[in-house]
């Protein structure tokens, strides 16, 4: 089974070669090494998928010890079960296609070796994350992907905006990691181990255990799961911790496709699915997951309909789709969540890379208001974007149809209040999804050309090295939904022991037996959304403007992304700077130094100066002092000496 490790370490090998010897082997060499390694990894990933998932030959590969102290004993291990097999497959295949695409997309960049080294390094960390066998190794991959994401968002480091976005992404993720780390600490406190298997098998015995956290006693599993979920919220850009994702679009488009759509941002969903054996015993935590998932799904969709930057629309769409995956997990339909993760990886990567091809064609223009009327000029990209959007909107028989349907049906079938909340918002978000997707298509490709002539004259189809990988993704976007249906089937044990669902949480099972209207509704609202976009942006293009003026506050509220950036700026950024400045100037300067060393030094000096004044040089001053002294001694002798 040792060759299971191949797809994980091949990208690392490529990254090290391209990173350290980039200047020696040059751009071409770096591309060859990383893409070659990634290609082999992708093939191996398919082998792993076949053996582990289809034939059920799970394995654990021991590498070496990490650190041990008392009961805390952490090893480097690779865990290959069904869940890992699916993730390795998705990550390697999508990453390989994006590697190839990048050859064309980054052709004119002066830092090609660095770019490819980062891309491969990212893939390695992502694979380390999904193959982790304990919490800390997962955290290692978790922070690793965050680091490379930071490096790649700021890849064009000359741009101040790219640097700002990179830091923002890292810090917001750190806020999430804060919860994740506390969760791990809580897990260790109670289980005395951080190894998955030991924790999973111990979870049922912890059902009523309580833990004292911050001076209060809480249900242990609930607290641990909610803390861990905070980490997932950060990485997967869920409501409240979502602000970094749209800004992350500052990075090169292949990065947006790989990291900020297909893989890294889905790590949170993966985490919840991986930890299903604990989450299953934490009903409140699952409700929290459902609530945040559903809220994010609708919240991000409302913003997406007003954005004008083509990549930002897709970014908010990603955010919204991640919400779907989360509430699927929240109603215990983990299989459905991972199913949507898989289909989404293909069609969203396709959409991003298609958008990249458009941006490429439009001479690096990203504003949809300056596009339009180009569909005849780049027909391949146009068709591919249609496929991606059809899959995203959940139109039969594209892949998104299968996965989104089963999620919404599961939410409905869970028969809980929050399940219905998720179902309702999910349906609404499905309508908005179709609406903004076709808004994007119409604004970008149809109508009158709004770019200037120079740009229009230059519009051209992407080279084969770019569109061939897109075709690969498009094939995935079409067929993967049907092929992977066993993930949510009830009669096949697809997930083995990698995902635990308690018998009482049978939403996924029930989902197959819901009424017909529930099954038909998601696609119906999808078609409705397409129709709405057709009305707004083709039949009556003046409508959006009128609506925006009529409901100006709402429009501004959505256009400014619910004002989260402004709010956080005041709450956290400015107040931290204000505190920092004052603690430094006042706290350190005035108080500590003022009372401490400087104060004592000043006091000593002033005492000394006064003492100096005593030495006036006049004899009668001294004589007077002596007289006073004598008088004092005599007085004391008379009083105390008796």
């Amino acid at each position: 089974m040792l060759y299971y490790a191949a797809p994980i370490f091949l990208p690392l090998f490529g990254a090290v070669i391209a990173g350290l010897f980039g200047r020696v082997i040059g751009a071409r060499g770096a591309q060859l090494v990383t893409c070659g390694a990634m290609g082999v990894a992708a093939v191996m990933a398919i082998v792993v998928f076949t053996e582990v998932v289809l034939q059920g030959e799970t394995a654990t590969i021991v590498l070496f010890d990490w650190f041990a102290s008392g009961d805390l004993d952490v090893d480097w291990l690779l865990r290959f079960d069904e869940l890992t097999g699916v993730m390795v497959f998705v990550v390697c295949v999508v990453s390989f296609l994006i590697h190839v695409y990048s050859i064309g997309y980054m052709a004119h960049d002066p830092h090609v070796p660095r770019f490819f080294a980062y891309l491969s390094l990212f893939t390695f960390f992502m694979l380390a994350l999904v193959s982790a066998d304990n919490f800390l190794q997962m955290f290692f991959g978790w922070e690793g992907v965050g680091l490379v994401s930071y490096l790649l968002i700021g890849f064009w480091y000359k741009r101040p905006s790219a640097n700002a976005a990179a830091i923002k992404a890292f810090i917001v993720n750190r806020v999430g990691d804060f919860g994740f780390a506390l969760g791990i600490l809580a897990i260790f406190l109670m289980f005395d181990t951080v190894s998955f298997d030991a924790v999973f098998s111990g979870a049922p015995g912890m059902v009523d255990a309580e833990v004292t956290f911050l001076g209060h006693s809480f249900d242990f599993l609930e607290v641990a799961c909610i803390l861990l979920f905070v980490g997932a919220m950060g990485k997967s850009a869920q409501f409240l911790l979502h602000t970094w994702l749209p800004d992350a679009m500052e990075g090169p488009t292949p990065v947006s496709a790989l990291i900020h759509a297909a893989t890294m941002v889905t790590a949170g969903v993966f985490m919840v699915a991986r930890l299903s054996p604990i989450f299953e015993y934490a009903p409140i935590a699952l409700s929290v997951v459902t609530f945040f998932g559903a809220t994010t799904a609708i919240f991000a969709a409302t913003i997406a309909i007003t954005q004008n930057d083509i990549k930002r629309v897709i970014a908010y769409s990603t955010c919204s789709q991640l919400g779907y995956m989360f509430f699927a997990c929240g109603v215990s339909a983990y299989g459905a969540g991972i199913f949507h993760l898989t289909t989404h990886a293909f069609f969203k990567a396709l959409l991003f890379l298609g958008a990249g091809a458009v941006i490429h064609a439009m001479s690096d223009e990203q504003d949809m208001r300056k596009m339009g009327g180009i569909w005849r000029m780049i027909p391949v990209t146009y068709v591919l974007m249609w496929i991606g959007n059809l899959a995203l909107a959940g139109i039969f028989p594209f892949s998104g149809f299968f996965s989104k349907d089963i999620i919404l049906e599961s939410a409905f079938a869970s028969h809980t209040g929050l399940g219905m909340y998720a179902f309702g918002l999910g349906i609404l978000a499905a309508f908005l999804t179709a609406f903004y997707s076709w808004r994007l298509l119409f604004l970008t490709f149809h109508g009158k050309p709004r770019a200037d002539e120079r740009v229009m004259a230059h519009v051209h189809e992407a080279p084969p090295v770019m569109w061939v990988p897109l075709v690969g993704l498009a094939i995935g976007a079409v067929v993967i939904g049907y092929l992977m249906l066993p993930m949510v089937a009830t009669d096949i044990d697809f997930w083995g022991t990698s995902i635990l669902v308690l018998p009482i949480h049978n939403a996924l099972e029930e989902a197959h037996h819901v009424d017909f209207w529930v099954k038909a509704l998601p696609m119906a609202v999808g078609v409705l959304g397409i129709g709405g976009a057709f009305l707004f942006y083709v039949l009556k293009p003046e409508l959006p403007g009128q609506l925006a003026t009529r409901a100006r506050p709402v429009y501004l509220f959505l256009l400014n992304k619910w004002y989260f950036d402004e709010l956080y700026d005041i709450l956290f950024v400015r107040s931290a700077k204000y505190l920092g400045r004052n603690l430094w100037r006042q706290g350190d300067g005035a108080v500590i130094d003022g009372i401490g060393p400087d104060g004592i030094a000043a006091a000593t000096l002033s005492v000394a100066r006064r003492a100096v004044r005593l030495q006036s040089g006049y004899v009668y001053h001294y004589a007077f002092a002596m007289l006073l002294g004598l008088a004092a001694i005599v007085t004391w002798y008379l009083i105390a000496g008796r």
Partner: protein
């Protein structure tokens, strides 16, 4: 193992180098060149010898090893007593490891009074190594306070513009602590009738006395470490000190405070230590948050790193005072990691300071265009300072938090906020120095790392990664000594720690 007094050799070998430097004759340039070489080779040989120590080290015993004992004032039970255990040996090696790098870093940066500088450095090496292997309080005190003098001179003579103010501030701060420390030693001597550390370790002080002794020791160690609010000498001292001075200051001198807590406060005064846990926790947590916020607003690179050191030391003190294996080992690993990482960060500042003679963050920007290798090295240490898993910073920090979480969740949570702030100030620093457009005129011709500098950073980078990916060999050396230390603290009645240490899972669940 032979009877060769290897610890004495390691300790006093640098003084042999000093002797040779004093013998050098010739013109100014020749003296400078020869002093550099003598100093470098002396320190390299010292380092090589200290490697022999770890190679021969027995990890199965908590006893002091390589012990040397010569009666000095036998009628007063004061002797020349040297020895190391698993806790002190790493500090010793860290010292011998950093000194050659410091001398290399000063190769061109120190151009005046080179002979005196090298002498000061070698003398300091002897004194620091002496601190970590003394097993007699009188000797310890002499070494501990003695190293103030070369450091005072290094800051005061080869420092920046406000060097005199900083040197005095540094000296006075530490001296106040020292006075109380001396009083404590005198008292302990009168109480126990000896200054021999192994004997004092088994001597039991009355609880009422412990409190006062503990406070006196605390005054000294808290200033050294430094803990909030005794930290204000550190930013000033760092800013004015030459690069090598900052490296030693951050890399080793700060660790003496932590070492003092581990060697004296905890095992000799266990009850007082337990009593003061809330006090230490509060100061540490305040230090982490307060100095992280202050670091965020610094405009001087060295000041920023200096403030971040205070925050990192806050993690260390939390770890030490958890009284758990993970916490204490984590605290030690964190000190070692900080010794490598902060030393490297100051060396990084030194690299660009040597080229441009400014430490203002605003004077930099876009260095990556001209210095890709430098950008890589600084990135590695920035990440290690942030505590990214896989770097040395993570292991120690995480182990400390594991220990802290067991004893107080508030402390663990508040300490974790430092993780967020740490990322903020370090990445912001990195961005302002390395990224962006290269617009400053004087930076357009700046050169990347030369071979000497690569030679300095290569071992530091590898250590930071090894300690992060495979710290087992280091922890192996620590385990027995730390267990012994915990046993010593548990010997005292009324410690709240004993339960949290060994509670099996089911009982805890059943308790609730």
């Amino acid at each position: 193992m032979t009877d060769w007094p290897i610890l004495s050799t390691v300790t006093f070998l640098p003084l042999v180098g000093v002797f040779f430097i004093l013998l050098i004759r010739g013109d100014e340039r020749q003296i400078a060149a020869n002093s550099r070489h003598v100093a470098l080779w002396t320190s390299v040989v010292t380092f090589a010898l200290s490697i022999v120590l770890i190679a021969d080290f027995d990890t199965t015993t908590a006893e002091f090893q390589f012990v040397e004992f010569v009666p000095w004032l036998p009628e007063h039970n004061i002797g020349y007593h040297l020895g190391v255990d698993g806790i002190s040996i790493f500090f010793l090696i860290l010292t011998t490891f950093l000194i050659p790098l410091c001398i290399l870093a000063s190769w061109e940066a120190i151009a005046t009074r080179v002979r005196e500088f090298m002498i000061a450095f070698l003398v300091m090496e002897t004194l620091i190594v002496g601190v970590f292997c003394s097993l007699d309080f009188v000797m310890f005190y002499i070494f501990f306070e003695g190293q103030l003098i070369p450091m005072f001179l290094i800051i005061g003579i080869w420092g920046g513009a406000r060097r005199v103010y900083s040197a005095f501030k540094f000296f006075l701060y530490t001296l106040v602590g020292s006075v109380l420390f001396l009083l404590a030693i005198l008292f302990m001597y009168l109480d126990a009738g000896t200054t021999d550390i192994p004997m004092l370790l088994v001597h039991e002080f009355a609880p009422a006395i412990q409190t006062w002794l503990w406070l006196a020791l605390f005054a000294s160690f808290a200033v050294k470490l430094p803990m909030w609010p005794f930290h204000t000498w550190l930013p000033d001292a760092h800013v004015e000190a030459p690069t090598a001075g900052s490296v030693i200051l951050a890399g080793i001198l700060l660790k003496m405070g932590g070492y003092g807590f581990l060697r004296f406060s905890l095992p000799m005064l266990p009850e007082a230590s337990a009593f003061f846990v809330p006090f230490i926790y509060s100061l540490s947590v305040v230090a982490i948050i307060y100095t992280s916020l202050v670091a965020l607003m610094q405009q001087d690179m060295k000041k920023l790193i200096a403030y971040s050191s205070v925050a990192h030391m806050g993690i260390v003190t939390i770890g030490i005072f958890t009284f758990t294996g993970q916490g204490i080992e984590g605290g030690i690993i964190q000190m070692l990691s900080h010794g490598i990482v902060s030393a490297a960060l100051f060396l990084c500042v030194g690299v660009v300071y040597d080229r441009t003679h400014t430490r203002e963050i605003a004077d930099y920007g876009g260095l990556v265009h001209r210095m890709p290798m430098y950008a890589f090295v600084l990135m590695v240490f920035t990440l290690a300072a942030i505590g990214l898993p896989g770097t040395s910073g993570f292991v120690g920090e995480f182990m400390v938090l594991v220990g802290a979480f067991q004893s107080n969740t508030w402390v663990a949570m508040l300490a974790l906020t430092g993780v967020i702030l740490g990322a903020a100030y370090m990445l912001w620093l990195y961005r302002r120095v390395i990224f962006g457009d290269l617009t400053k005129e004087n930076l357009k011709s700046i050169t990347d790392l030369n071979w000497r500098e690569v030679g300095i950073f290569a071992p530091l980078v590898s250590l930071a990664l090894v300690l992060g990916l495979y710290p087992e060999p280091f922890l192996d050396v620590l385990h027995v000594s730390v267990e012994n230390l915990i046993a010593q603290t548990n010997g005292a009645p009324g410690l709240p720690i004993a339960e949290t240490e060994s509670v099996p899972v089911p009982t805890l669940a059943a308790l609730n």
